[in-house]
């Protein structure tokens, strides 16, 4: 159904500034400019799922910065990092009566939080209080106001850097141990 909807809605996609996916393994140094960049190390590259026709060229990036804090880091009550996620997506088509919404969810998708609806520039900003999480961009009917779950298809997805954390079992000196013993 979503594919059909997208096909019906598709006109020529509005060209937006391209945002290259971040190479998370590349060495990134701060540049000499008046404004420093958010930490590239923790940036989340958003990749298209190609579930909806016309969205396969979409690229995106979610940049993490700590919420403003007098301390250098901002923490939630339980000690988790409290960060602001700035989502930017390019090359999304316009689809009648629909809009794109950014969400954060835990890896097990048992908790979901709405980051915000992408604006006409494909951008939105919102807080995240989890250590490991996924970012998804979904296609929703205009005015969809649900705060804790999405209804439409996932258009792009990405994982926080912390989601890469893996058991040492099966790696390096612990190669003989099976990582599945530790839940992986």
């Amino acid at each position: 159904m979503w594919t059909l909807l997208a096909l019906l809605a598709l006109g020529p996609a509005e060209e937006r500034p391209a945002i290259a996916p971040v190479d998370l393994d590349a060495t990134v140094f701060a540049t000499c400019s008046a404004v420093a960049e958010p930490p590239a190390y923790y940036a989340i590259s958003l990749v298209p799922t190609r579930q909806v026709v016309g969205t396969g060229r979409a690229t995106g990036l979610a940049q993490m910065t700590f919420d403003r804090s007098p301390f250098g880091v901002e923490l939630a009550a339980d000690g988790s990092y409290r960060t602001t996620l700035a989502v930017e997506v390019a090359h999304l088509p316009s689809i009648d009566d629909h809009e794109f919404v950014a969400w954060a969810t835990t890896p097990s998708i048992d908790r979901i939080a709405r980051i915000g609806t992408l604006d006409e520039d494909g951008a939105t900003t919102g807080p995240v209080e989890w250590n490991k999480f996924l970012v998804v961009i979904t296609l929703e009917p205009v005015g969809y106001s649900e705060e804790t779950s999405w209804s439409g298809p996932v258009i792009l997805r990405g994982m926080s850097r912390s989601g890469r954390m893996h058991t040492m079992a099966g790696h390096g000196p612990f190669e003989q141990l099976e990582c599945r013993t530790f839940g992986y």
């Binding site: 000499c32 008046a34 958010p38 930490p39 040492m168």
Partner: protein, 584 residues
């Protein structure tokens, strides 16, 4: 720790020295992994002495022994004070006492071994004037006090007056501002105190040993006039520290020729507040207490919570913030200070905790962890006067705003200097190098716990070099030398390079000057206080606006003691302004 009270009375401050009451001993320490239900169990014996007198640091029981490291010990000599000395030859240390110094007064400060009792066990440690922490020195702004230091420990030492813009000749940096004070020698510091605030003092020689064994104390500089902001009933010091021990309570030795734990710094397993593991204080219901937090630990950052309460953040290293604000917790890295006002509205017990999301690198998971640092017993009896209404109001400190105003024009300009932090290693055991493959899948912005104590412990300062690199010249650590003129306002951008062997957060300390953290990761900071130390998380960039007000030779370094010993420092010169230079 004696209570000192700065009470507002008719617009004036009265200093009242409280009496010291012994605190009841209660078992309140959390085991390092008490909240971490992941124990598989391993059979490593951490209480038996290894080759050379080493003891292995406690490890998470779910962590299997790293193949190839069975029986391994650090490649330096193990050392603890009782290896050389008979503890019975030294006095038992006493809690800190306050000493008020007038302009021109002299304090004799003895640096010597002392016996300390922690959780019922006795240890031979170090102390200033046989006290833990060292004497709480109180001086008035603008005064100069003399501190005559006699060194009676086996190591050379100095005293660094952290955060104080004093004459650089008394800044306590060996080889830069003075020769080290050799055992048996005396050196007299002239400590001029131009800024009001809560400062501290500690050695600047092998801090990883000397400071960790108890050589630290606070120095408060009292303003001539009452500060802005809400009143409070009393003030309390909280010096936050930790000690690395086996589960049986044996101190883990230090590296004699070079520090061990050079990768992360020495994270302790027993939390101390004001030198004890069972700190308690009594307050009356409704009392507003101003807590002055100082992180005196070698490496550990704390995230301090006061029960479930929001607390009012009022000040940092060198005085108040522009605006008071409510915060849920106080993240504080080594050498930083924060002041918070806390009201205790209900009778009962309130735990002051270190509340963190720890990382288990072996499992690849975060887990919540809480250490109880201290207990506040709130009596049912209500306090007078009732300050609830004033406490609930957030105040603007106009004098701080006005003092910062002339610097705002510099906030957005290009940085004058850029530094990148990084680390290089050599000759580490192959098992450690291999394990980093998995350890660096993810590096947290701040390491709140030591998730890999064995790996950390086996790394010495001979194998690890922590680096500050000047982006303009490529110079590293002491290859860097900057020169400024007194009165310069200098913007320094510091970037914590995350793509490295084992990147870590760094508390960056600048000697002898004060600075503002004007932005982090390109986001302007909105509520400022003058600082001398600031936390730089992994991957982050911070812009420091430094007022080069104080001529002399000064150091910039990471305040993780083991990182400093592993090279992470350089110095700069501030040449005196012309008029001052001409003064004979």
């Amino acid at each position: 720790m004696p209570n000192f009270r700065i009470l507002r009375s008719g617009g004036a401050f009265l200093l009242v020295l409280g009496t010291l009451l012994p605190s009841p001993v209660v078992a309140q320490q959390h085991d390092q992994h008490a909240d971490h239900d992941m124990h598989m169990g391993h059979d490593m014996d951490h209480e038996t002495e290894l080759e050379g007198g080493w003891l292995m640091p406690p490890m998470d029981p779910n962590m299997p022994m790293m193949p190839g490291l069975e029986g391994a010990v650090p490649p330096v000599s193990a050392w603890l004070p009782h290896f050389d000395l008979d503890p019975e030859d030294f006095p038992r240390a006493e809690p800190s006492r306050a000493v008020r110094l007038a302009d021109g007064d002299t304090l004799d400060l003895l640096v010597s071994p002392v016996r300390r009792t922690i959780l019922g066990q006795e240890y031979l440690m170090y102390g200033y004037n046989n006290q833990y922490p060292g004497p709480f020195i109180q001086a008035e702004r603008g005064s100069t006090v003399m501190v005559r230091v006699r060194n009676e420990i086996r190591f050379p030492t100095t005293v660094h007056w952290h955060g104080i813009r004093l004459d650089y000749r008394f800044d306590g940096v060996p080889g830069l501002t003075q020769p080290p004070i050799e055992p048996g020698e005396v050196f007299t510091y002239e400590v001029k105190v131009p800024d009001a605030g809560m400062f501290w003092y500690h050695p600047h020689v092998r801090e990883d040993i000397q400071q960790d064994l108890g050589l630290y104390g606070n120095l408060v500089v009292l303003p001539e006039e009452p500060a802005d902001g809400a009143p409070y009933h009393r003030e309390e010091l909280l010096a936050l520290d930790d000690l690395l021990m086996t589960e049986g309570g044996q101190l883990i030795p230090y590296g004699l020729e070079s520090p061990v734990n050079a990768l992360m710094g020495r994270y302790g397993t027993v939390m101390l507040v004001n030198g004890v593991a069972d700190h308690e204080l009594d307050v009356q219901r409704g009392e507003v207490v101003r807590f002055h937090l100082t992180n005196v630990a070698n490496a550990r950052p704390f995230n301090v919570r006061f029960g479930e309460m929001d607390v009012k953040l009022v000040g940092s290293d060198i005085g108040p913030f522009e605006r008071e604000s409510w915060v849920g917790s106080v993240p504080i890295s080594p050498a930083e200070r924060y002041a918070v006002d806390v009201q205790f509205p209900e009778a009962g017990r309130v735990a002051i905790t270190n509340t963190i999301q720890a990382v288990d690198h072996f499992r690849g998971v975060f887990y919540p962890h809480v250490d109880t640092l201290a207990i506040v017993n709130v009596r049912a009896e209500g306090v007078e006067p009732d300050l609830s209404e004033l406490h609930s109001t957030l105040h603007v400190n106009e004098h701080v705003v006005q003092e910062i105003d002339p610097f705002r024009e510099h906030f957005d300009r290009e940085p004058d200097h850029e530094i990148t932090t990084m680390v290089r290693v050599r000759d580490l055991p192959q098992a450690i190098v291999l394990s980093m493959e998995a350890d660096t899948f993810y590096v947290p912005p701040v390491e709140w716990n030591d998730a890999m104590p064995m790996m950390n412990w086996l790394s010495s300062g001979n194998q690890v070099t922590w680096i500050l690199e000047d982006e303009a010249t490529g110079g590293r650590n002491e290859e860097i030398h900057w020169t400024f003129q007194q009165g310069d306002v200098v913007k320094i951008r510091v970037f914590n390079q995350p793509q490295d062997f084992h990147p870590m957060q760094h508390p960056i300390h600048i000697h002898g000057q004060r600075f503002l953290v004007v932005s982090r990761d390109g986001v302007p900071q909105e509520n400022l206080a003058w600082k001398d130390t600031a936390l730089l998380p992994v991957g982050s960039t911070m812009d420091l606006l430094v007022e080069m007000s104080n001529p002399g030779e000064w150091m910039i370094h990471c305040h993780i003691a083991e990182h400093l010993s592993a090279g992470m420092h350089f110095h700069f010169t501030v040449e005196p302004a012309a008029a001052e230079a001409d003064t004979p």
